[in-house]
């Protein structure tokens, strides 16, 4: 631009100077001078004037160099003008003035006659050929001036041509070898000189040294080519248009973008690039640049030659004309963002999907940004409000501690950071507000964010169902086991019953048969004892049957459990048994503060009574029979009651068999052997356990039993 401006200002100067030269120099001085040089050929003056004018106007660049000297010269001329009169007497002065002009003229001026002899030249011309004075040139030919004959012939040929044809030859580029071998390029105008009749009498040559100018022009061309290459090869699509929106330039990248060849669009309206639908709108946008605005990343779609639509981001800049106001051209750079937009579109679709997922997911979904100390919600599914009571949209950006109870939030933060650092997927069960969740968490990185994503499923109901099933299965297993046990028991029972009930029958039948035989034999001595045996056996049978009925009742008929004091119960039993106790002279010790229990009181009474009676039975022979009843505490829930005697003890071999139905350790003792079987049955029905501890014969016996004493277990019975 600077360069162009310079040219423009030079052009301006050119006109001024030309005007001055015409009005002053040419009209007055030159005319005078030329008239003198060509006496009697007044028409020559006009011709010279035209030649100079023509000449001057064709060398714009040179004028910058001649402007100053000319200006000075004009000043001198103006001063001289005052002195000049039309009087011929001043001719001498005028001659001098011409000389000055010629001497100061930056170019070369010469003139030849028809014989191609130099009529004269200026100092510049003379100096070029090694002559110090211009006057030395007059009368010489080109052969005299230059050693290169061929060059001289060339000059002469042109000169002759001009003279012969009478037509000026303008802007002839000539090469002259100056003294010292220096090559000078001249732009020469050759003008035929005529006399009043119009006959050519000579030729005027005015040349300007354009060696430098050519160099400049060469440089300019190179620069222009370089810029052009840059423009064409730039990666970015670049286009320029003029104020009437005609495309003036179009680079390779734009060819690729648009599918149009350079030649197809140059000179065409810009709207060739836009799809029909958008032509008007797009051109309207482009036109805004005409009012001085530049487009900045404005998206305007273009339609390729093959019809494909591409999204393009445009940036424009206006190129201003010399006046700095008018827009000379607009240059625009386009950026094809179609792929980007497609990717954006795909991304948006995915995002839409994610939004739908989050909205309708039956599983609680969460995405959090995590750090060592606190996590923030980035996104959650809509159903997450069920967990926090806060609408999902309001949860975004919130911390764990803002959403959850403190201890739960602490746990989450620690868990999340652990997952993030070890990179593992975590699958855990969490409990929040009484609900159980199965949560799966996984770490990932999103840009520079550390993210934990995850899913939570409320499995409370499922767990409940599973627990119920497990409990049912357990109960079934238990009842199966119970059934098996009952079966075994029943088998044992049947066996025992068949044996033990048969036993008294055998006695009764045996002795009654014996009595009959004794009777027939007349033997009477055994009558009484045998009848007694029969009676006892019948009694035994009765009590066995009663015991059996009793045993079968336990387990079938259970009174509802009630809460009562074990201490009171024990004292009731002792007062009931006061008779036998006194008879044995036994010392009964009941531990203070026996607890309340929850059981079938009637049955528990039987248990204590049986155990105390049992103890009395086996302590009777001791000198100081003592029976202790108490509680051996073994933890809060495990209470062991015991009844200890200092009687004859039980061999460890029989610790289990004593509880068998109708099992008796000593055949001679009273009873059917059902007592302990009954006791065990009752204890077991109460969910307890009974066992014997005895260090051996004569070391005493301790019966221990446990009970499920809490209310709940009692109720389940």
């Amino acid at each position: 631009m600077g360069y162009l401006n310079k040219i423009n200002s030079v052009n301006a100067v050119r006109r001024i100077v030309a005007a001055i030269l015409i009005s002053i120099v040419v009209n007055e001085l030159v005319t005078t001078m030329l008239l003198r040089s060509f006496p009697g050929h007044s028409g020559v003056v006009e011709t010279l004037l035209d030649g100079l004018l023509l000449f001057l106007s064709s060398f714009p660049i040179i004028f910058i160099f001649v402007y100053r000297p000319l200006k000075h010269f004009v000043k001198v001329v103006e001063e001289e003008k005052e002195k000049i009169t039309l009087s011929e007497s001043d001719l001498r002065q005028s001659d001098q003035m011409l000389k000055i002009v010629l001497e100061n003229f930056p170019g070369v001026v010469f003139w030849k006659d028809r014989e191609l002899k130099y009529g004269g030249a200026n100092q510049g011309f003379a100096g070029m050929f090694g002559h110090s004075r211009a006057s030395d040139i007059a009368g010489k030919t080109d052969y005299d001036l230059m050693s290169d004959v061929q060059a001289a012939d060339k000059f002469r040929a042109v000169d002759s041509e001009v003279m012969n044809s009478g037509i000026p030859k303008l802007n002839v580029l000539e090469q002259v070898k100056a003294v010292g071998g220096r090559v000078i390029w001249f732009d020469t105008n050759k003008i035929p000189l005529r006399d009043e009749e119009g006959n050519v009498i000579g030729v005027l040559g005015v040349s300007l040294d354009v060696t430098e100018r050519l160099k400049e022009e060469e440089k300019l061309r190179e620069t222009s080519q370089y810029l052009d290459k840059l423009f064409r090869n730039a990666n970015a699509p670049i286009i320029t248009w003029d104020p009437s929106l005609l495309i003036t330039r179009f680079n390779d990248a734009f060819e690729e973008l648009s599918g149009y060849q350079y030649g197809e669009v140059i000179g065409k309206n810009l709207d060739i690039l836009f799809p029909d639908k958008h032509k008007e709108v797009s051109i309207d946008i482009i036109k805004k640049t005409g009012s001085g605005n530049n487009l900045k990343t404005v998206e305007i779609m273009i339609q390729r030659k093959d019809g494909e639509l591409r999204s393009v981001i445009w940036n424009t800049a206006n190129v201003l004309a010399d006046d700095g106001v008018t827009i000379a051209a607009t240059i625009a750079q386009g950026q094809d963002i179609t792929d980007q937009k497609d990717a954006e579109e795909a991304l948006r679709e995915q995002n839409d999907l994610l939004v739908l997922l989050l909205k309708y997911s039956p599983v609680n979904i969460f995405i959090k940004e995590v750090s060592t100390k606190e996590n923030r919600v980035l996104n959650v599914s809509d159903n997450f409000h069920e967990l926090t009571g806060i609408p999902s949209a309001q949860m975004i950006g919130k911390t764990m501690h803002e959403l959850f109870p403190s201890d739960f939030a602490d746990m989450i933060v620690v868990d999340d950071w652990t997952i993030f650092t070890n990179g593992n997927v975590l699958n855990i069960e969490e409990t929040l507000n009484g609900r159980i969740y199965n949560t799966i968490k996984f770490p990932f990185i999103l840009g520079d964010k550390k993210i934990i994503g995850g899913f939570s499923i409320d499995i409370t109901e499922r767990k409940k169902a599973v627990t119920q099933i497990e409990e049912t299965v357990k109960k079934l297993e238990l009842s199966k086991e119970e059934l098996r046990q009952k079966n075994t028991e029943l088998e044992q029972f049947t066996y025992t019953v068949s044996h033990d009930l048969k036993s008294p029958l055998i006695t009764i039948k045996g002795y009654s048969g014996g009595l009959l035989r004794d009777l027939s034999n007349g033997r009477h001595d055994r009558f009484e004892s045998d009848l007694k045996r029969i009676a006892v056996a019948a009694d035994k049978m009765t009590s066995l049957l009663e015991n059996l009925l009793e045993l079968s009742r336990i387990g079938r008929i259970v009174n509802p459990p009630t809460k009562f004091s074990m201490g009171e119960l024990t004292h009731d039993v002792i007062s009931l048994l006061s008779g036998p106790i006194t008879k044995c002279n036994a010392n009964i010790v009941v531990q203070e503060g026996l607890p309340d229990i929850y059981a079938d009181r009637t049955r528990m009474h039987e248990v204590i009574q049986n155990l105390v009676e049992n103890a009395l039975k086996f302590t009777g022979e001791r000198p100081e029979p003592t029976i202790e009843i108490g509680l051996r505490k073994n933890g809060v829930s495990n209470q062991i009651f015991f009844i200890r005697d200092n009687g004859k003890g039980i061999d460890p071999r029989y610790h289990e068999t004593v509880f068998g139905l109708f099992n008796k350790l000593d055949a001679s003792t009273e009873g059917t052997g059902i007592g302990l079987a009954l006791v065990r049955r009752i204890i077991e029905v109460h969910g307890g356990r009974i066992w014997v501890e005895s260090e051996g014969i004569n070391r005493g016996t301790t019966f221990c039993f446990t009970l499920q004493t809490n209310e709940q277990n009692g109720k389940e019975q």
Binding site: H499, D500, K502, S503, T507, Y511, G513, L665, D666, A667
Partner: protein, 146 residues
């Protein structure tokens, strides 16, 4: 009928039954001597020549053992098992005399090498005949090396 004195060990917890057995055997003069114990433990003690019976001046190895199955302390099957696994005792014939006619008891008894298994008949005459036959069979007709 052999002139040798015959010894029977009766293991029976029910004294009435024991009396019935003794009477019948005596009536038919089958046995010279009947020793009666009331439980399994006592039976084993007797047989191993120790305990209360060892102190008796006249310990006599039984020619036949009448063993009830349902006994206090150590039951009949256990007693049988111990007799039959004792080299000194296993040659003594053991007759199970019980009120149980359970198949299980029978099978177990033979498994433990009982020599005979008899259920106590409820009817008196049957009992008397059975015991008579039993006596004859084991103590008179059955030949033995001692």
């Amino acid at each position: 009928m052999s002139g040798e004195p015959l010894v029977i060990l009766l293991v029976e917890d029910n004294p009435d039954h024991a009396e019935l057995v003794k009477r019948n055997l005596e009536d038919f003069r089958v046995a010279n001597t009947i020793y009666h114990v009331e439980d399994g433990e006592a039976a084993l003690v007797y047989l191993r020549e120790c305990g209360t019976y060892a102190s008796k001046s006249k310990f006599i190895r039984p020619d036949l053992i009448l063993l009830d199955l349902r006994l206090p302390r150590i039951d009949g099957l256990e007693v049988l098992k111990q007799i039959k696994s004792d080299a000194k005792l296993q040659s003594i014939p053991v007759v199970i005399l019980t009120s149980s006619d359970a198949e299980r008891d029978m099978a177990m008894a033979y498994e433990y090498h009982a020599n005979s298994y008899i259920t106590k008949p409820v009817d008196f005459d049957n009992l008397a005949n059975l015991l008579k036959d039993l006596g004859y069979y084991w103590l008179a007709w059955n030949k033995r090396p001692w």
